[in-house]
Structures are given as C-alpha cells and as structure tokens.
Symmetry: C2
Subunit: 198 residues, 2 copies
Amino acid sequence: MADPTGIDALIDLMARLPGLGPRSARRAVLVLLKKRGQLMAPLAQALAEVALSAKDCHVCGNISTTDICPICTEPSRATGEICVVEDVADLWAMERGQVFKGRYHVLGGTLSALDAVGPDELGIPRLVARVADEGVQEVILALNATVDGQTTAHYIADALAPTAVQITTLAQGVPIGGELDYLDDGTIGAALRARRKL
Amino acid sequence: MADPTGIDALIDLMARLPGLGPRSARRAVLVLLKKRGQLMAPLAQALAEVALSAKDCHVCGNISTTDICPICTEPSRATGEICVVEDVADLWAMERGQVFKGRYHVLGGTLSALDAVGPDELGIPRLVARVADEGVQEVILALNATVDGQTTAHYIADALAPTAVQITTLAQGVPIGGELDYLDDGTIGAALRARRKL
Ligand SMILES: [Zn+2]
Ligand SMILES: [Zn+2]
C-alpha cells in the first residue's frame, strides 16, 4: 500500500473500532490525511488527553476524566435515587433521556455463572453499602430486558431487601430482548416515568 | 452527558469521520474508553505521528510520511509507466489490485468549469513534464467512469499527444458510473490487464 509504516498501522488501528471495517477505516484515514490540521491533529490530541485522564468513578463506576465523576459530585443529583445500569453506554442513554435526575451505579456486566461473573465483580456489595451511606430511598433497576439482565435485577432486589429501600424497575417501553443503548431517547423517558415496583 | 469536557469533545470529533454518525461515534468512544491502554493510547499516538509526518509527494501527489513517496523512490517501479488517478483512494485501490508495477500521478480531482478546477490545479503540466523527464513510454488513464473523469481523460490525452507517449485506459471491468475505490481488487487487476489504447 501507500506507506507500510505509519499510515497502514493507523488504518489497522482504526479498523478495530466498532462500525468500521477495513474499507471504511481506509476511507476514514484518507479523510483524516486530507484534513491533517483541522481534524487529524485535534483528534489525536483529544484521544491522548482522554486516554490519560479517563478513569472509572470510585463511587458509581461511570467513566469520566475526574476521580469521582461529575454526576456523583453534583450536589443537586443527591436525590436519594440510584439508577442501576449494566454499562456506561446505558448510563449515557439514560442521561440522553433527560428524565432521571439522581445518581447511578454501573455494574459493568451481568451475573454469569458461565463467565464466572459474581456479585463482587459487579459491585453489588458496594451498591448495598451506598444505599445505607447515602440515605437512598429508591433504587431503579434499569437493566436490559434480557434473561441475564433480569436475573441480575432479581439478585440485586434480594440483596437490597434487608435495607427496606424501595426498588423499582423500568416498565413501559423497553421491548423484550431490547437493549437500552438502542432505544430512542423519548422511549427511555417514558419507561422511567412509568416505572413500577419490583 | 457523562462528561461535558473531554469525552463529549472526542465523540464530536469522531462523529466527523465518514461512516460514523453520532451513535456509532459514541459506541466507538466507549470501546476506546474501555481499551484505553491497548487501543486508545496507540491510536492517539499513531494519529499524532501521521498528522505530523504525512505529506503530499512532490512528484506524484501520493500521501506518505516521506517528502517523496516510497513508490516514487523505489527503483523497481521505474517501469516507464505512469498510472493517472483522480485521488489517493484510487491509488490505494490500484495498489491492492497488485497488478500495476509502475508509478502514479494523482490529479486530486477532475476538470470542472463549475468549481474552477483547471489543468494547473490537477498537475497536468507537471504530468507532461514527467513524461519527458522520466522517459515514460505509457500513461495509463485510470480515471473514474464518470462524465467528469472521462472529460479529464480526454483532456490529458490531448495534452500528451505531442509527446508521442502511448496512452491507454482501463477497459474491461469498470462499470459505467462506477468508482474505482468501490471495486473489488480482482476487477481492478482484470481491468488493468485488459487495458486498451485510447
Ligand atoms: Zn460517579
Ligand atoms: Zn510519489
């Protein structure tokens, strides 16, 4: 190809991104090569800065560029509600819905005997501790409507039962087998407003 | 969203790449955030290096990380053949075909009265000079099978007529209205092998 050193290596790296195959990675790199100053250099800079500064929030598991994420440090979000999500992608999807004003707990997956993912890996003991420590009144289980997601939701409900916190779950709007991150923002808002007790 | 500073700015930059909309840019950034060490940092590094070192070849217009590109400096490619292409993407497509062993001339576009793109902007006088300077025996016009591409091909053939160089064009395999960069590699090889005099 044009240049076996830098440019080909860059195409290979780009092709590892979701949604970009080898062909679209080549086209993306060509656009970058033609916009070296306006796009390629700023993108390199932004990636380098975020790669250095991004970290998992100690409290909720969200990814941000601060030790504790902006949602956990924002006083107005201490509403006594914690929304439990599987993944940061789901947290972002909830935020786009612009209905939930509380804080989050990002599990980072679901319980899986097959993959040896247990409650500790998902931070469930930490969630139980947060409910007491932060005076939480309601935990909203916003897990995907999949078998693993619902199994995990029931496990968390059982783990939280001794705390007497109210446990709710997204109700209306989440299609069977659907994943939060693919839902439109309005549907997520509707599902949150119509949440029901588990 | 999660972090109004670094991460959102990164998503906005990623969304400007071809093939990535806002949603796929978010998903790409999430994958990068989870693979900060293995993928995000190396990608930042590769982009920064290429942004600094990439340049247009003085001779042929190819983009590489050297002042004169590896194809122009490789002695074995002084075959007396120059392949004229519209864009670096087309040069890459030709190289993937692995049939052409000569050198290139990248026009960077096609003649267009509307956009005020004339022969000078496309380096056509420079191509005519190369034919004499490099002792070229054959110029292969590998332009897209579009009206603009074919108009430009005929203009170049006229400009080269006084040099008595043989002028050929890709024949078989390029569909009407088709663009080189979208062809499979085998078709490009076949079109090159079956090239005919213009
Ligand atoms: Zn947090
Ligand atoms: Zn060159």
